[in-house]
Symmetry: C2
Subunit: 359 residues, 2 copies
C-alpha cells in the first residue's frame, strides 16, 4: 500500500467548456502522480502534485537511449456520476512485462492501480460528461540517470498524467481504409513488439505518415521476418471475420497484448463465435475478400474501442469489406464494450472498477 502524499494545486486550470472540441491527449488535468526509483531503495516518494514540467539534465538517459515505457487507459463517467476504470489490473500487469524487457524495475500491480485510482479521484471533476468522451490516463516510466553509458539506469520516474479526451467517433462510427505496409515493419521476434516502449512508436511514425499522405487512416503491419502474416494495425490489434470465424494474430512476442483485444475475444467466445489466435496470411485475407468471405474487419484498442475497417490495400490490390458500413459483430462488440465502460449495461464480466471517493 503506497503512502501517497497529496499536494493540491492552488491555481486550478479552467476546465474545457466545449467537450466536443477536446480531441485526444492535448489538455491535461490539474494534477499528476509521481514516484521515484533509486537503486537500492526501490520505488519511493509516491505523491500527487500540481501538473508541472520536469527539470532534466540534457544527459538524462531518456533523451539518448529511450529507456521508457507507458500504458494507456481511460476513466469513464456514468449517468449517475460514478467514475470507473476498465480492467486496470491488465494494464498494470502489461506494464510489468514492458518493464522486464526494457530492464526497468517493476511497479507492483496493486501500487499501480492505487496510484491510478488516487489521481483519478483527485481529478474526478475532469472526467468529461458528454457521450463517448472520457478521461485518458497515461502512466509512464522513464530512466533518469544522468550519463551517457549504455546501461540500465539506476534511477527512474513513474508518472501518471490525465487528459480529458473527446469521443473517438465525434461524428458517428466511420469505417476506415487501411494500408498494408510492405516495406517497414513494427517488430520482429527478439525485439520489443509485445511491449509499450517508446522505441516501437518512434519506429512506426514513418510508415504511418506515408499511409496518411495516401489517404489511409492506419498501417497494417506484417510480421518482420517473412512479411506474410498480419500482426496489428497502427496502434491497435486487428481482427478478421472470415466465413463466420474470427481470426487475430497470436500475441507471441511481436504483437501487443491489447486489453480491448482480449476483452473482445472473451465476449466473442461468450457469444458462441470461434476465435482463432494464430498466424493469418495477408494473402489468405485477400483471397477471402475475392471469394466474398471477408465479412468484417475491425481494430481494437483503448482509444477507439472497436474501429471498423472498410478497405485494405496490399501491393496495389484493394479488398473491400462488406458494404462499407460497420458490420453486425463489430457493432455488437462496440455497443457491449462501450455500454459496460460507460455503465449503460450491466458489467457481467467483472471488468469494471469504480473509483471511490477518498480524497
Amino acid at each position: 500500500m503506497l503512502d501517497i502524499k497529496i499536494t493540491r494545486t492552488t491555481c486550478p486550470k479552467e476546465k474545457p467548456q466545449d467537450e466536443s472540441k477536446l480531441g485526444f491527449g492535448k489538455k491535461f488535468t490539474d494534477h499528476m502522480f509521481v514516484m521515484d526509483y533509486t537503486e537500492g531503495e526501490g520505488w519511493h516518494d509516491a505523491r500527487i502534485v500540481p501538473y508541472a514540467p520536469f527539470q532534466l539534465d540534457p544527459a538524462t538517459v531518456v533523451f539518448h537511449y529511450a529507456q521508457e515505457i507507458f500504458e494507456g487507459m481511460k476513466a469513464y463517467r456514468t449517468a449517475d456520476d460514478t467514475i470507473q476504470l476498465f480492467r486496470p489490473e491488465c494494464n498494470a500487469k502489461r506494464m510489468q512485462d514492458s518493464a522486464d524487457r526494457l530492464c526497468i524495475p517493476r511497479i507492483p500491480v496493486e501500487d499501480y492501480i492505487q496510484a491510478v485510482e488516487a489521481l483519478v479521484d483527485v481529478d474526478r471533476d475532469w472526467v468529461p460528461h458528454s457521450d463517448g468522451a472520457s478521461l485518458y490516463i497515461r502512466p509512464f516510466v522513464f530512466a533518469n540517470d544522468v550519463g551517457l553509458g549504455v546501461h540500465a539506469s539506476k534511477h527512474y520516474i513513474f508518472c501518471i498524467i490525465c487528459a480529458p479526451s473527446g469521443a473517438y467517433y465525434a461524428e458517428g462510427i466511420n469505417p476506415v481504409r487501411i494500408y498494408v505496409e510492405d516495406e517497414y515493419i513494427r517488430a520482429a521476434p527478439g525485439l520489443t513488439g509485445f511491449t509499450k516502449c517508446g522505441g516501437n512508436y518512434a519506429a512506426s511514425i514513418k510508415a504511418g505518415e506515408l499511409a496518411e499522405e495516401q489517404g489511409y487512416a492506419q498501417v497494417l503491419w506484417l510480421d518482420g521476418v517473412e512479411k506474410k502474416y498480419v500482426e496489428e494495425v497502427g496502434s491497435m490489434n486487428i481482427m478478421f471475420k472470415i466465413d463466420g470465424k474470427v481470426y487475430t494474430a497470436a500475441t507471441v512476442g511481436t504483437v501487443l497484448p491489447g486489453v480491448t483485444r482480449r476483452s473482445c475475444i472473451e465476449l466473442l467466445k461468450d457469444w458462441g463465435y470461434e476465435v482463432v489466435e494464430g498466424k493469418l496470411a495477408i494473402a489468405d485475407i485477400m483471397q477471402a475478400a475475392r471469394d466474398g468471405k471477408l465479412e468484417e474487419v475491425f481494430g481494437t484498442g483503448t482509444a477507439a474501442v472497436v474501429s471498423p475497417v472498410k478497405e485494405l490495400v496490399w501491393k496495389g490490390e484493394h479488398a473491400y469489406i462488406g458494404d462499407g458500413n460497420i458490420g453486425p459483430v463489430t457493432q455488437k462488440l462496440y455497443d457491449t464494450m462501450t455500454g459496460m465502460q460507460w455503465g449503460k449495461i450491466p458489467d457481467t464480466k467483472g471488468w469494471i472498477v469504480p473509483v471511490e471517493k477518498k480524497y
Copy 2:
C-alpha cells in the same frame, strides 16, 4: 551559416583534476549548444548557453514515443594544443539519415559542423590533456511537442553536450570476450538498425546486461530474420580477419554505418588487404576458428576506436582468437587511427578538422 548567439557561464565549474578518473560521459562541460525547430519556421535560435537542465512538460513526445536521435564524436588535443575533430561531416550526414527514418527534420551538414566546432571552441579548455583522453561530443535531437497523439512532432530541440572522457583503455588494450546473442536481436530489415535512434539502444540493454552477468564485455548481434549472420557488437561494428582477408557486415539497413568502420576499411584497403563487406555466417566464423584460420577479431567505434576480441561464445561453443593478445592488423589500425586523431602521425587521408579559435 548559423548566427550562433553565445551566452557564457558566469559560474564555471571546476575542471576534473585527475584525468585518469574521468570515465565515460559522466561529467559535462560549462556550455551546451541548443537550437529549436518549429514547423513552418525551420531550425532557429542557434545558441550556446550555460549547461543547464531542460524544463519539459510531462506530455512531451520524447517521454512517450522516443522520437529521438543522436550522434557520437570526439575532440582530440594534440601535443601542440591544437584541438581537432575526426571526419565530422560523416557524423553530420549520418544524423540526417537517422532523422529521415525517424521523421525528424534534417539539420544541414554545414550547420551541424559549425555548431560542433563553435561549442568545442568555447569549451576548448575542457578537452583533456592526458594520453588517450578526449572530449566526447554528444549531438542529439528530440521531439518536444506536448501531446499524446502518435505523429511526427512539429517541434524539436537539437542539443550538443560535451563530456571530457578518459582513455578507453586506461590500463592498456585489453582484448574482450563476446557473447553471440541467440535470442534477442537488435534490428531487422524495415526497422531502424542503420540509425542512431534511442529505441535501438533501449531494446539492446537487456541482452547486454545478461551477457555482462556471465562475464562477457559485449553482445554480438546476429541478423534479425535468420539469426545466422553477424551484424554488429554492442555499440560497435565488428570485423573478422580470416585466412588473410577481412570480413565485416555490409551496412544494408540493419547495421550502423560506423565512421570508424569505414575509416578502418579505407586504411585496410590502402594497406593491400582484401575487405569483404557482406553476409558472414556465425557458423563459418566458428568453423574458421576450429580450422585455425580466425586470425583476428575486433570491434570498431568512436569510444574504443578499435577493440580487440579474444573469445566468442555461440551456443555454448567457444572460439579463441589468436593467442589472446591483440593481433598485428588490429594493433596497426589502432595505432594509425589514434595516431591521426591525436596528431601524432600525419593525416594522410584528409580526415582531421582542426577547431579554429574564434570565440
